[in-house]
């Protein structure tokens, strides 16, 4: 059976790699059977079954070592499977390693010719695309200079420009784009979108949930060489964040917490409990945009102090403050104040956030007591941090003899 161009079939794909300090085997080792010793081969793919239709855009996420890159290398036909089946229809172009396949002593232009040839294009076909590739790469005069003088950003620009202009039926992109500057990354994502619109199948590996959400409609979550989720992007990212969250205890906050174990601390005001709950009052760390959120905090107050101040700060992934609020509290007879913050609909977009809480007896800035990390699954059609929820409408178009003058 022949696959349509852009169709991808993986059936029970299994592959492991031997991990030896010296990768190269020696004949001596072969004759003495030394290969039997040493660490056991590490399974990279364990029975992965995947069917991707032409024109689909699939994001692949998972922890380091989950098998993402191995899957791409298998799909690209670079690494064979030990069992199972891997087939791709049409021309497969991959962008896996930064600057892979470039000859350092040759100019950018010469490297374009070679890379094109590597994918089976002939001279005429490559020269047709040459100008577009050079223009996209923004390398200008550097295109005539040996690539060994390039910065890593320039490598990515050239590599992506080539890969994106070879009229691939299947485009496989690994993490590499992360190296380019933000403007170029945006340009790349735009180009990928163009290719998607033109019917190219794209498989995209990234740790950047935002980029995946923007580009991909379907997400495959890999863990330990197996597919643990395969479905719509928002759900997939949620699943991924959840598994990451439970694995790392909610993730490490960027904000250092106050040391509460020191002498004399046991009598000070401090946040002792912090929990996020969903609409049904269940503890969770994953929310959807626009969903209700409830924050529960318990503050310990020594008897002498019956009241104090609680500060809450919301931080985005880069540690910038998004929102800050404070409230006074009064401790009950047991010396503990219990507080709830009700948020009717969460006006945040997709990403990871940290909530930092600090309690003090007096109204002044104090170090953070406790932080909690949570993940928001964004909604399609909006990017950023805050969800302003506007809706667009069109005004009646201006027509008539004065229309030109109004522009």
């Amino acid at each position: 059976m022949n696959l349509r161009p852009g169709e991808i079939v993986l059936r029970d794909a299994t592959r492991s790699f031997s991990v030896r300090a010296d990768q190269a085997r020696t004949l001596k080792g072969l004759f003495l059977g030394r290969r039997a010793h040493g660490p056991a081969p590490v399974p990279a793919l364990r029975g992965v079954t995947l069917h991707i239709e032409p024109g689909e855009t699939v994001g692949m996420v998972g922890r380091n070592g989950a098998g993402k890159t191995s899957t791409l290398r298998v799909l690209a036909g670079i690494v064979p499977l030990q069992s199972g089946e891997a087939r791709c229809g049409g021309r497969i172009v991959s962008l896996l390693e930064l600057g892979a396949g470039f000859s350092r002593d040759f100019s950018g232009r010469e490297n374009i010719l070679l890379q094109g040839a590597l994918y089976g294009l002939n001279r005429v076909q490559i020269e047709e695309r040459l100008d577009r590739i050079i223009a996209f790469s923004e390398l200008g005069g550097f295109i005539e200079v040996p690539v060994k003088t390039y910065s890593s950003g320039m490598f990515v620009r050239l590599g992506f420009s080539i890969a994106a202009h070879l009229d691939a039926d299947v485009l496989l992109i690994d993490e590499v784009l992360a190296v380019g500057d933000e403007a170029f990354q945006r340009k790349c994502l735009r180009r990928i979108s163009e290719q998607i619109a033109a019917g190219t199948t794209v498989v995209f590996v990234s740790h950047d949930a935002g980029a995946i959400e923007r580009v991909c409609e379907r997400v495959v979550v890999l863990d330990g060489g197996r597919i643990v989720f395969d479905g719509p992007a928002a759900e997939g990212l949620l699943h991924y964040h959840q598994s990451m969250g439970t694995e790392h205890g909610g993730g490490q906050s960027l904000r250092p917490e106050r040391d509460r174990s020191g002498p004399g601390r046991e009598n000070s005001v401090a946040v002792t409990e912090l929990e996020l709950r969903d609409a049904l009052g269940r503890s969770t760390s994953v929310f959807h945009s626009g969903m209700p959120m409830q924050l529960y905090a318990a503050v310990r107050a020594p008897e002498a102090v019956q009241q104090g101040w609680l500060t809450l700060e919301l931080l985005d992934r880069s540690g910038s403050s998004v929102f800050r609020t404070r409230t006074a509290f009064e401790a009950g007879t047991d010396g503990i104040a219990r507080l709830v913050l009700d948020i009717p609909d969460l006006a945040l977009l997709g990403g990871d956030y940290d909530l930092a809480l600090a309690a003090s007896a007096v109204d002044e800035a104090t170090p953070t007591d406790r932080t909690i990390r949570f993940t928001v699954a964004g909604r399609p059609g909006a990017e950023g941090i805050v969800d302003l929820r506007g809706s667009w409408r069109s005004l009646a178009p201006v027509t008539g003899p004065h229309a030109d003058g109004l522009r």
């Binding site: 190269a24 000859s103 070679l114 089976g120």
Partner: protein, 258 residues
């Protein structure tokens, strides 16, 4: 396969320029090195250690030497080629034979250039102009196939087992001395008393018939005997068959091992 023809052209051009890019004499080094070698061997075996009386010895020697240089350089550079070009192997799916194939082709270009320099010299000095010269391209083609087959084998083997190049280097030195490059196995004094050794020198070593066939045309001015031509065809066919079979069997994990 044919759509990768341009890749092959690219690889050959790249290989030609890669080593000598940035050097003043550039590609000329490909010719200078063998010529220097020719001079040195002519001096040593033609004058210093002269143990056989062969007329026009430099010409006699050169014919053997260009063939040997082609054989040896091809094997040694092809053996390392897949590792040198690991970045390409890890990058995309393309017929990997193109890489050792390109290195052997580069050596073939050098070989042909040297042969073109040697040919008028030989014909003028030895007076060997005749229809037998038409067999030279045939022999070159057969030799190319033979060397290509061997090169594919050592290239893929070396990618998996890094002992192959040291073994090859060690093997090539005695092999060189056992090949009729600077001696004529028929008139060697030792061979006169041990005819079996003479037969072995001429037929066991697959490089020997090529040298002797070429020498028959260029040095003696007559077509090589049928035996050597048939031997050449068989060696070329067998080497290509073996080389491609081994290469196909083993190329799978190349991206993992190089």
């Amino acid at each position: 396969m044919s759509r990768y023809r341009y890749l092959f052209v690219q690889l050959v051009r790249r290989e030609l320029r890669r080593k000598y890019k940035g050097s003043t004499l550039g590609v000329l080094w490909y010719l200078i090195n063998p010529l220097v070698l020719l001079g040195a061997y002519t001096l040593m075996f033609g004058h210093v250690y002269k143990f056989q009386s062969i007329p026009d010895f430099p010409i006699f020697l050169m014919i053997g030497l260009v063939v040997w240089t082609f054989f040896q350089q091809s094997l040694l550079s092809a053996a390392e080629s897949l590792i040198d070009q690991g970045a390409l192997v890890r990058k995309a799916r393309f017929p990997r034979e193109a890489i050792p194939g390109a290195t052997v082709t580069v050596q073939l270009i050098t070989f042909c250039a040297l042969l073109t320099l040697l040919l008028p010299l030989t014909v003028a000095i030895r007076g060997t102009f005749g229809p037998a010269l038409l067999l030279v391209p045939v022999l070159v083609a057969l030799l190319y196939c033979f060397v290509l087959g061997c090169a594919l084998t050592v290239a893929v083997l070396h990618a998996y087992f890094r002992d192959v190049v040291p073994i090859l280097t060690a093997l090539l030195l005695p092999w060189f001395f056992l090949t009729p490059i600077f001696f004529d196995p028929r008139t060697l004094g030792f061979v006169q008393s041990n005819p079996l050794v003479g037969t072995a020198l001429q037929w066991i070593n697959p490089v020997a018939p090529f040298i002797e066939a070429l020498r028959a045309i260029l040095f003696d001015g007559h077509a090589p005997d049928w035996g050597r031509l048939v031997y050449g065809f068989a060696a070329a066919g067998l080497a290509i068959l073996l080389g491609t079979t081994i290469f196909r069997r083993m190329e799978g994990d190349l991206a993992v091992v190089v």
